[in-house]
């Protein structure tokens, strides 16, 4: 089969046979091989813990952004109720940016979770294979001649080695994803540090130069729509008789 799978299995098999070629005494090889497998398992466990920690940090950031979205929405309503449409618009633009980041972060957290689950599954299979190897190694030691043992070790070790490579791949993918997300999260942190999601009543409208940039970042039509909707809701709340649909129908352009 000419696919990428073929290439991968060839690489794995070559690595394992190189390892086994160095061996002289089968009994010793078996014990050494098992020892190495256990060490690898420890590394895998540590790797999984790192991925989990990174994910938790990103989830915390996501929660902070969620709070910002709620806060900015509240401020937009308050500003509008007080008749300050400009401030309301600024708040909505910032909310829009925060929301976009939040969605992207959440999507990535979900993807990372799937990869993490695969990593954990693969690690469990590795543990089972190592355990099977341990049993098999005692049988091989007791029953087979040196030459025959060599062949059987090779087979068994290949099975474990393949699973180890599989865990390695799962780990690589989860780590790559974490790195990608960290880069994104750092960008959000910079926005936060610049005061993008800060309390608007303290900054005031249009007083920092990020407002202009934010207006460009956030979709103005979305902000317009939301502003109109908010107006309609407020109108309905105060006037009582006004229809909630009032502001929405006229927003076609």
């Amino acid at each position: 089969m000419p696919g990428m799978g073929g290439r991968m299995s060839t690489v794995i098999k070559a690595k394992i046979s190189r390892l086994l070629d160095k061996a002289e005494d089968p009994g010793e090889t078996l014990d050494y091989s098992y020892q190495k497998q256990l060490e690898s398992l420890q590394n895998v466990k540590k790797g999984i813990a790192d991925v989990v920690t990174a994910k938790k940090r990103l989830q915390m950031q996501s929660q902070k952004l969620e709070q910002s979205v709620v806060k900015l929405d509240t401020q937009a309503r308050q500003a509008l109720a007080a008749g300050n449409e400009e401030l309301a618009r600024t708040a909505l633009e910032r909310k829009n940016v925060a929301q976009t980041e939040l969605q992207s972060l959440d999507t990535q957290v979900t993807e990372l979770e799937a990869q993490q689950q695969r990593l954990i599954d693969s690690e469990q299979k590795l543990r089972q294979k190592i355990e099977a190897f341990r049993t098999k190694k005692e049988v091989i030691k007791a029953q087979y001649s040196a030459a025959e043992a060599q062949v059987r070790i090779s087979e068994a070790a290949t099975g474990v080695g393949e699973q180890m490579a599989d865990v390695g791949l799962a780990m690589q993918r989860a780590t790559d994803k974490t790195e990608q997300m960290r880069a994104r999260a750092d960008a959000v942190s910079e926005l936060e540090a610049a005061g993008t999601f800060d309390d608007l009543t303290q900054i005031g409208p249009g007083q920092d130069d990020i407002d202009r940039q934010l207006a460009q970042l956030s979709s103005s039509s979305e902000v317009d729509d939301e502003l109109a909707k908010m107006k309609a809701e407020l109108g309905a709340g105060e006037g009582g008789g006004e229809s909630k649909q009032l502001g929405e129908g006229g927003q076609a352009s």
């Binding site: 089969m1 000419p2 696919g3 990428m4 799978g5 073929g6 290439r7 991968m8 299995s9 794995i12 098999k13 993807e111 799937a114 990869q115 695969r118 990593l119 599954d121 693969s122 469990q124 299979k125 089972q128 294979k129 355990e131 099977a132 190897f133 098999k136 087979e155 068994a156 290949t158 099975g159 474990v160 393949e162 599989d166 791949l169 799962a170 993918r173």
Partner: protein, 99 residues
């Protein structure tokens, strides 16, 4: 023959399925080198589906090595492209040299 789907598990397939597996694999290669993302998704999904439905899952404590190792099911089109570039299974056509 034993086929592994990376990050999923190993499946035992009848040796008679080799030709069909080869066909499905070629279709993935063709879609990737033809830069068709939809085609890749379809072909790769079909390949995985074939292995899952025609194969018997191997026990986790089975030490048999796989004859073929397929990439993880969530391999993206971009990742597939990386797999196929570089030393490449099917190298891109060499553009005519400017020199």
């Amino acid at each position: 023959m034993i086929v592994r789907i990376s990050n999923e598990g190993q499946y035992k397939l009848d040796d008679g399925h080799h030709a069909r597996l080869d066909e499905l694999d070629d279709a993935v290669v063709a879609a990737v080198s033809g830069r068709s993302e939809d085609g890749y998704q379809r072909a790769f999904e079909e390949l995985l589906h074939f292995v899952r439905t025609e194969g018997e899952p191997l026990d986790a404590d089975d030490l048999e090595p796989s004859e073929f190792i397929l990439p993880p099911p969530d391999l993206t089109f971009a990742e597939a492209g990386e797999e196929f570039s570089g030393e490449g299974l099917i190298p891109d056509p060499v553009p005519p040299s400017a020199a």
